[in-house]
């Protein structure tokens, strides 16, 4: 079942607000709401869940207008950053809670509840933990119980609010792969909120980037990385250097020298050219579009990052092969080989 958010606006005194958000989540999709803190991503998720009421706009689950549906009737599975497990209930009771609170007419039999609970424990790889209490579990285990509890009520959609935010790096990585796996097995339409670009890009089918209550771009991980719609998306998704640029006769110029970037129009200025570390290439001093002194060489996975200090004090990061002969203190030139052009705002 897909989710559609139409014209959602929410104003808060002091907190993250939302301005006229339109977003469609496709059935079965895993979508990441990505943004810095205060961008309104959690507010949007809570509006979809019914925990927060929007000032304006509508929320649809498939064809159903859920805007005025109370939380209890929305049938969404929700996972909190800090688990929100019921501490006085065992793992099994936590998972079964959503089934037990149903009215007698729609409540499954005891045997059926037990069967479903053990099935879900299996799914989250916690069989044998049914009688433990949350205080006896690790953070990663607690989050898995929280997910099983959310799935127990067979929700229309699954919403996760920074699900890995409270976990350490190693557990985070494991749980990402595991969540992807669960998503493939259950096929539930899932929206998760995160401020971690790597997490969003690695996990999601599509990424919705939010900034200051506005949707900047929605697209596949490749889309948002290769064709960022706004300077914000460009800088939020990774390191980017910025150079003033002009367009003359259909060519993009930085400091009067042409760069191999397609011009969006034939004339004009001013523009800003945003370059990733791999969009810059070292050349001989005096050559290229920039000059500077190497102030640091670091290893980054299978590449090396050199830090170039420009005469005006600005630092540029450049990605070079591992076996580089460049040394700290050397003077070099930098050639811009690619980049993304935005009109200056």
């Amino acid at each position: 079942m897909g989710i559609r958010v139409a014209g959602v606006t929410k104003a808060f005194a002091g907190a993250a607000a939302l301005h006229d958000i339109d977003l469609a989540v496709r059935p079965g999709e895993l979508l990441a709401l990505l943004g810095p803190s205060g961008s309104g991503k959690t507010t949007l998720l809570r509006i979809i869940a019914g925990l927060v009421e929007a000032d304006r706009g509508q929320v649809f689950f498939g064809g159903l207008d859920a805007t005025t549906l109370p939380v209890q009737k929305r049938q969404v599975g929700f996972v909190f950053q800090h688990y929100a497990l019921f501490k006085h209930m065992s793992v099994a009771d936590n998972i079964a809670y959503g089934l037990r609170v149903r009215t007698r007419a729609s409540r499954p039999s005891r045997a059926e509840i037990r069967r479903r609970t053990s099935e879900l424990l299996d799914l989250v790889q916690l069989s044998g933990y049914e009688s433990r209490f949350p205080s006896q579990l690790s953070g990663g285990q607690r989050q898995r119980v929280a997910l099983a509890r959310a799935l127990a009520v067979e929700p229309r959609v699954l919403l996760l609010d920074e699900p890995f935010g409270a976990l350490d790096a190693k557990v985070r990585k494991d749980l990402r792969a595991w969540l992807r796996d669960i998503h493939e097995r259950t096929g539930k339409t899932t929206v998760f909120v995160t401020h971690d670009q790597d997490e969003a890009l690695e996990l999601a089918d599509r990424v919705a980037v939010l900034n200051q209550g506005r949707l900047e771009q929605v697209g596949s991980p490749d889309d948002v990385q290769d064709h960022p719609a706004t300077p914000f998306v460009m800088t939020f998704l990774g390191q980017a250097a910025r150079f003033p640029a002009d367009i003359r006769d259909g060519r993009v110029l930085v400091r009067g020298k042409p760069v191999p970037v397609a011009a969006s129009r034939s004339q004009g200025s001013p523009f800003q050219l945003y370059c990733r570390p791999w969009h810059l290439k070292p050349t001989a001093p005096g050559q290229g579009h920039q000059t500077g002194t190497i102030s640091g060489v670091r290893r980054l996975g299978s590449m090396r990052r050199i830090e170039v200090l420009r005469a005006d004090g600005a630092k540029l990061e450049v990605e070079v092969p591992l076996a580089t002969s460049l040394r700290q203190g050397e003077e070099i030139g930098l050639e811009i080989v690619d980049g993304v052009l935005f009109p200056e705002s």
Binding site: H82, Y97, R149
Partner: protein, 268 residues
């Protein structure tokens, strides 16, 4: 463990000198007349009536104070309203007020011609100078215990737990019953135990409003004072010993209940 010896030593010394020594002297004095003598005093109609009055009303008053205390603590913790801090301070007044002052004030209020009593009188409700008056005084005295023991627990409840419950389809009542109340139970029991213990031993506020009619509204502590004024020291210590035994048993049961509830609800 650094400091273990000195802290344990101090604890034992304190308990021994200030708690166990007087209680031991009390029991020693009372046991002078033997177990059969103690039982004979206990079944004396006036003594039995006073003990029953004291313990039964204390029990009910502690229960009512716990319930009201829970509501007061909830309102004070969960809602922000003008004057909240003042109300919060007022809760402690029964702690600070000399109990005799409280007793006189309550008696004046609930007397047939008092501010509250004059409204209750036409309804056929007599509070002052009846067992009902004792009940009112004991609820008044017990309320702060009930409030102060659950307040920190209510403050600890995460909002997300309520949201999680609602998201799973639970009604508001179901959430209150299954999610909010169970973690409060140990605190409510502690408040109940404290209010009960205080109520059993309460003297000052009760004697002014109770009317002190033998067999009807006479409490056991008053009977002890009466025995003392008649120079019947043995009789006084025997009643005191019986009270001690009943109180100790009651507190032990409450403690066990508490231990059970902690275990039942997963507090390790």
């Amino acid at each position: 463990m650094p400091g273990f010896g000195i802290t344990l030593g101090y604890t034992l010394l304190y308990l021994g000198l200030l708690v166990l020594l007087p209680l031991g002297a009390l029991i020693a004095k009372a046991s002078g007349i033997g177990l059969s003598g103690i039982i004979a005093v206990a079944v004396e109609p006036r003594v039995a009536a006073a003990l029953w009055t004291s313990f039964s009303i204390s029990l009910v008053a502690a229960a009512v104070a716990s319930l009201f205390g829970l509501l007061v603590a909830w309102a004070l913790t969960r809602y922000d309203f003008p004057g909240r801090r003042i109300v919060d301070a007022i809760v402690d007044l029964p702690f600070a007020l000399p109990t005799a002052v409280a007793g006189i004030a309550l008696a004046a209020l609930y007397a047939p011609n008092g501010w509250v009593g004059s409204f209750l009188e036409p309804l056929g409700l007599k509070v002052a100078y009846t067992p009902l008056g004792i009940f009112v005084a004991l609820v008044f005295i017990g309320l702060p215990f009930a409030v102060r023991t659950v307040q920190p627990l209510i403050a600890d409840i995460e909002r997300e737990l309520e949201e999680a419950s609602a998201l799973l389809g639970a009604s508001r009542w179901r959430t209150v019953w299954s999610i909010l109340l169970p973690p409060l139970l140990p605190g409510v029991l502690t408040g109940f135990a404290l209010a009960f213990a205080r109520a059993v031993g309460e003297y000052g506020s009760v004697i002014f409003i109770a009317g002190n009619l033998p067999y009807v509204s006479e409490i056991a502590p008053l009977l002890i004072v009466i025995k003392l004024s008649e120079y019947d020291y043995t009789g006084a210590t025997v009643i005191a010993t019986i009270m001690l035994a009943i109180s100790f048993t009651a507190l032990l049961v409450i403690n066990l209940l508490q231990a059970w509830s902690r275990k039942r609800f997963g507090y390790v």
